[in-house]
Amino acid sequence: MTAHSTHEVSPGDPPYVHHMDSKTAYEAAKFGMWLFLATELLLFGVMFCSFAVYRAMYLDIFHVASQHLSKPIGAFNTAVLLFSSYMAAAAVDDAKKGNNQGVTKKLWGTILCGLVFLLVKSYEYYDKWQHELFPLHPNFSKNFAHYKSFFGLYFCMSGIHALHVIIGMFVLWFYGVRKSSKGRFSSRYFTPVELGALYWHLVDLIWIYLFPLLYLVG
């Protein structure tokens, strides 16, 4: 059998990569994902840094402004994301065992949690718009000019985070559910589930810091 005839892969086998063996491909993919996650942390890190600077400058205004965010709603969304992260981790465990049905169920669960998170977030954004607390609202600078730094950072940080939730949901569906429903994963090949879950955990990890900063301590 020549190397070329191994292009055909049976379900559960890793895809054929012509320049390295599958274990090396797995390790390289995972390492690349961690490098990407490092750059993601730096992206949010810059925003956390500016939040820290403005908070130090306008401490009392940040305190008053953050009272406009609902602690119970924020806590609920935190719990939803933590639970979704747990399900993503459980999906990886199932993928390693070759339990494709379990992967499908758990990833759908994760995606559903992401959807709940986004719906709650949309309600919060809508509520802020109704109270004219959105910096682009025509009445914002008239009534709430002092809140510009807090709500500017709030919408910027939570908005980019929400974008990550949307991308994460798509990644888990595109690279996870679509393949697990065809029975593609096994103890020999589960890279896409693991990398998708890593991305999802990062989204959760960032929210772990965003929630207390924006909702709790202001």
Partner: protein, 125 residues
């Protein structure tokens, strides 16, 4: 892959329980006014939660040294950036005249008081 090692680590469900418990703790602590201490407690609890997610959910516990190293590099870079900004900020010289600074500080203080009074009034409606 190190599946046999993973039997010795706490289950993901247990970690979820700890994470939810810590969330309840942070929210509870937020309702107690401790001044500047609030943010220290909140960031400390958040860091424990982040560590739990990274070590157990993201399986950093079972990764090799180089992955762990590259996972911690951004923390170091962030520390340098935030530390640098907080060293730079207080050392900046305000180009305005001292009287003007005092005046604007008074104005700002008055505006914040008005804002607080307004928010307080709205809360009672």
């Amino acid at each position: 892959m190190s599946t046999h090692e993973e039997h010795h680590s706490p289950s993901h469900f247990f970690i979820l329980g700890v994470l939810l418990f810590l969330t309840v703790v942070t929210v509870g602590v937020a309702y107690v006014d401790m001044g500047n201490f609030n943010i220290i407690v909140a960031m400390f609890v958040a860091s424990i939660k982040a560590l739990l997610v990274a070590v157990f959910f993201m399986h950093l516990k079972f990764e090799d040294g180089i992955t762990r190293f590259f996972a911690s590099v951004p923390i170091l870079l962030l520390a340098i950036m935030i530390g640098g900004v907080f060293i730079d900020n207080p050392l900046r010289v305000d180009p305005r005249a001292p009287e003007q600074i005092t005046q604007e500080k008074m104005k700002y203080k008055k505006e914040v008081e008005e804002l607080k009074a307004r928010e307080h009034g709205e809360a009672h409606h």
